[in-house]
Symmetry: C2
Subunit: 594 residues, 2 copies
């Protein structure tokens, strides 16, 4: 067997029509069975798998080599394709009608005993799988995830190329970026004591491209965000970044619909209906208690404040007279026991509500609830009607400050209603975001980066707490996939916005002076969006977390259990960069074995 | 005019068939001419440009707005397409038969006076253009470069997808990589005092993908290299990275031929001939005096040592008896004056040669040269024959140690023969590289990274200075575009190679222990290559340096004159990362105004 060829065919591509051909295959041993001297091996390669038979009659090699074969050995085999005998065919495998009768064998790479069973992940801790990610990647599940990731990028690019977009690479060694999270820094060796930042997004560079006459820009860009990890965050992540000059909000949303439709068609084989629903931020909060509503199911929040305007029930009356709200959801026929209902009340407390009123509609239409006695006949009827309740339905009502009521009911709605998996895909846009969000402490903080165009700058000055911006989010099944906006293209308005957002002129000049300068040279109106690839792909693949669709992810502490990064480096190397370890950190290191 | 639409058509797409249509266009003012009250404006957008006429009769707006229009103002115009009057058509512009008679106008973005003339770069220093890169990008030249870059990536991806390659993203926050240059570091905030490295290449991750059963991998990857800048280097750069399992060297070279052929077809409209020539490293040095030969022209080096074996000319005889070589090139009919010939001798000295012998073939076939008198009739005839010399040809001969002779003649060959521009494209592969290169000091240093497979490990042990590796370079017009190899896939051989290359076992374990572990689990034979995008595109675009094809490049000192990176950062931010400035650096900062 020449070392200059390892295979003639892909295992998964062989069919009954190939019977009689002599083929050379290469791959891994997926399964091995001995039947009285005859050894059956499932040989797996990237295309699929096929059964190989080592029969003492037809196989002249020494039995020694065959006896060595273990799971995940990498081998190359030459043999003849034959039809499997009646009764031994396997209809579950696409090559199940045939097998390869081996005539020669070479072990290309032997395998140490596996640290875990490849095709039984349930028993394996994630950290073990990440330590040996290369083994995990051999599983069908991870191969499918890698393929879905590649298909997603490809569908995006093909769609955008068809729409005349130009792929442009923006730098990743930049100066500080305007987003909220911390920048990751890269010390410069040529100018010791100075630092590059890794981009949180290509935001300002894509705006520069618009100023530069690139009217349709896209990039699948690596971005960096130094946040304390949540389960679905990574220090580095990938986003599809697009921007268009002479573009309106609607142009952006229509482009996104085309891109997403193509991705879902290629990855899931589903034809989405467009346009995707557009829901205002205010509506989303009112109906779903969330600015990223999961619209796969109803259970919408209804306002009952009017209905209880004259109630004698003190808990509701007190809230309403203090300017609060009474709202409820119809959770449907849940048939919960008393203990489960009590657990819901605990959950509402945990979410910050003073209490939760549950009401079950009985077969005769009457209501069972701890508070029935406080509610008038009319109120009960009106409530049933407002929540479109039928017998057996569970109604949940919360009273309190409006924002709190929305968030508590929004979360209870998800707790009770969210479907398992992601078989159905509900894309929507949330539009008409406010410029400012109010924190729990009552402070106004900008809801978006400072390059977002307000709907009306005069309105923003006079009523900052309610003024709207030209921004929008793409939401899928309750997850925010992307965020974008029409940008400010007038340098004077940009300077004003910095001021209104509380960025002092000196700070604005230091951080963004070069950008204000750029805006002065005939900047076109422009708008865009960025869509996170990792979350989109994890939802399309029905994976519980994004690490499953990232080839080599970090753990939640930002570590790579495979390569051991991040790691200590030599003092000499730091010296070249004009930095040294903080003495406290060094001391802690020295006290700890390396 | 609604602010919700900026244009109905692209300027460059309008034709005579559109006459009579009312269109809305948006773009920049490329030129402006006044003819007695009538103002002509060339409106430019990404698609091209068209003439717009502001005629006081048909244009009802106030003249004030028109008089404000200056170069590079961004405007939107509505008007009617009409045929240009006879005698005013412009055959040099694709829209030159028509013009737009403006009916309304809106300034979308005014422009400050331009810091330089956009379409006359000759007068503008590069640093000025980089400070205002967004203006430079508006020029036709830069727009074409951006398009060529996008087309290159697209042709690569389409070709690779057609060949069944899977695009996989590898991490960019990694542990130290094995390449020669310095790593750029990223301090970790979650584990203060530790650092990620930015990848010099995805080398080990793509090898892990091969172990992980991804049989055909590609990625257009951002990589980082902290070297002192040469004119064609950047801290960050982009490469096409490919790797295949069960692959031989020839599989890699054929894949590269397919990719490059597609790129050159799409970007230059040229159909390349395949296979590209394969030249061994030894041949390349012997014939071209370079391991990246420019084969657009001949002027090959010929060995004259045999011919002068018995010479009476002391300079040659001495060199030959010391084991050196006498070699020459035929530079063709150069008609150089004596002063130019003297300059060649100076150049040879500068390149390290003891001297240079020039010989001019005269019309009658006799030789003119300072050394003719020392050479016998036979030697003269044999030299003319060996160098295939014709009347008027200039022959250049160097004697000395073989390596020096090769490099001096190789450089003189380039000085004299290299064509201007890159109209012709000469791709070739250099193969059969040695494992070690000998430095000028006579030390053996590894020519490639330590994962490169040797042709024969026994040969490597017994004759390290001449042993060959399974590595290869892609060369275009004398520039190395890419480098690759068959990799070691046996963990024991990998450990041996570390030892032979002088990497101590502890160091190998610390840096690559996890990789040696990975190799143990049924690693397939694999091979690959990485091709630098920046240099490829700059040559295809006939640009003198790669900065012209990088949207936002750094200067040679690693600075971005546009955004001011790299920059100082707050001490507090460093503290969070467990580092502080080197006191000397801080002192230097404090002595200098910020």
């Amino acid at each position: 067997m020449s070392t200059e060829q390892y295979r003639s065919d892909n295992a998964g591509a062989l069919r009954i029509a190939d019977v009689g051909r002599i083929v050379q295959l290469a791959g891994w041993i997926d399964r091995r069975r001995d039947h009285g001297g005859v050894v059956f091996v499932d040989l797996r390669d990237a295309s699929g798998l096929i059964q190989v038979v080592f029969n003492p009659d037809s196989y002249p090699n020494d039995e020694q080599t065959i006896s060595e074969l273990r799971l995940e050995y990498c081998i190359t085999v030459t043999g003849t394709i034959r039809e499997r005998p009646e009764g031994t065919r396997n209809p579950n495998v696409i090559t199940g009608e045939i097998e390869v009768v081996a005539e020669s064998l070479m072990i290309l790479g032997s395998s140490a005993p596996l640290p875990f069973q490849l095709n039984d992940r349930s028993d394996t801790e994630e950290i073990r799988r990440l330590e040996h990610r290369y083994l995990d990647l051999r599983t069908e599940r991870m191969q499918r995830n890698l393929q879905a990731r590649a298909l997603t990028a490809r569908a995006m690019r093909h769609t955008l190329e068809g729409m005349g977009f130009l792929e442009v690479e923006t730098p990743t060694l930049i100066s500080s970026t305007p987003e909220g999270a911390r920048d990751m820094l890269v010390p410069s060796r040529l100018r010791p004591g100075t630092f590059y930042a890794l981009p949180q997004s290509p935001q300002l560079f894509k705006q520069l491209l618009m100023i530069g006459g690139v009217e349709r820009y896209y990039q699948i860009a690596r971005c960096y965000r130094d946040e304390d990890f949540r389960s679905d965050r990574q220090l580095e992540f990938t986003q599809l970044d697009i921007e268009g000059a002479f573009w309106t909000q609607n142009d952006v949303l229509e482009a996104v619909e085309k891109i997403i439709t193509a991705v879902v068609r290629d990855v899931r084989g589903i034809e989405l209906t467009t346009p995707f629903p557009r829901i205002s931020y205010a509506d989303a909060l009112e109906r779903y208690g969330s600015d990223k509503p999961d619209a796969r199911f109803g259970m919408e929040i209804r306002d009952l404040s009017q209905l209880f305007a004259g109630t004698d029930f003190r808990a509701f009356a007190g809230v309403l007279s203090a300017g609060g709200a009474v709202r409820g959801i119809n959770a449907g026929a849940m048939n919960l026991r008393r203990s489960a209902l009590d657990a819901l009340i605990d959950r509402a407390h945990e979410l910050g509500a003073k209490g939760l009123v549950w009401v079950v509609v009985q077969d005769d239409g009457s209501l069972r609830s701890p508070v029935t006695k406080h509610l008038s006949e009319e109120e009960q009827t009106a409530m049933v009607s407002a929540l479109e309740a039928n017998p057996n339905d569970l109604l949940l009502i919360v009273a309190g400050p409006q924002k709190l009521v929305e968030s508590v009911l929004g979360q209870l709605r998800l707790d009770l209603g969210i479907p398992k998996g992601h078989q159905e895909l509900s894309f929507l846009f949330v539009v008409d975001f406010p410029v400012f969000e109010t924190t729990d402490e009552g402070d106004l903080v900008p809801a978006h980066h400072p390059f977002t165009a307000p709907v009306d700058i005069e309105e923003l000055r006079s009523h900052p707490e309610t003024a709207l911006s030209r921004s929008y989010d793409l939401v899928l099944n309750g997850s925010e996939l992307g965020s974008g906006s029409v940008r400010i293209h007038d340098p004077e308005i940009q300077a004003e916005i910095f001021e209104i957002l509380g960025i002092a002129p000196e700070e604005a000049y230091t951080r963004f002076g070069w950008f204000l300068e750029a805006l002065k040279y005939g900047t076109p109106p422009h708008a865009g969006i960025a869509i996170g690839m990792d979350r989109l792909i994890s939802i399309l693949q029905e994976e519980p977390n994004i690490r499953e669709v990232i080839p080599f992810p970090k753990t939640q502490s930002g570590a790579d259990p495979l390569t051991g990064s991040p790691a200590r480096v030599a003092d000499l190397q730091l010296k070249e960069l004009g930095i040294e370890l903080d003495p406290e950190v060094r001391k802690a290191w020295e006290d700890e074995p390396s």
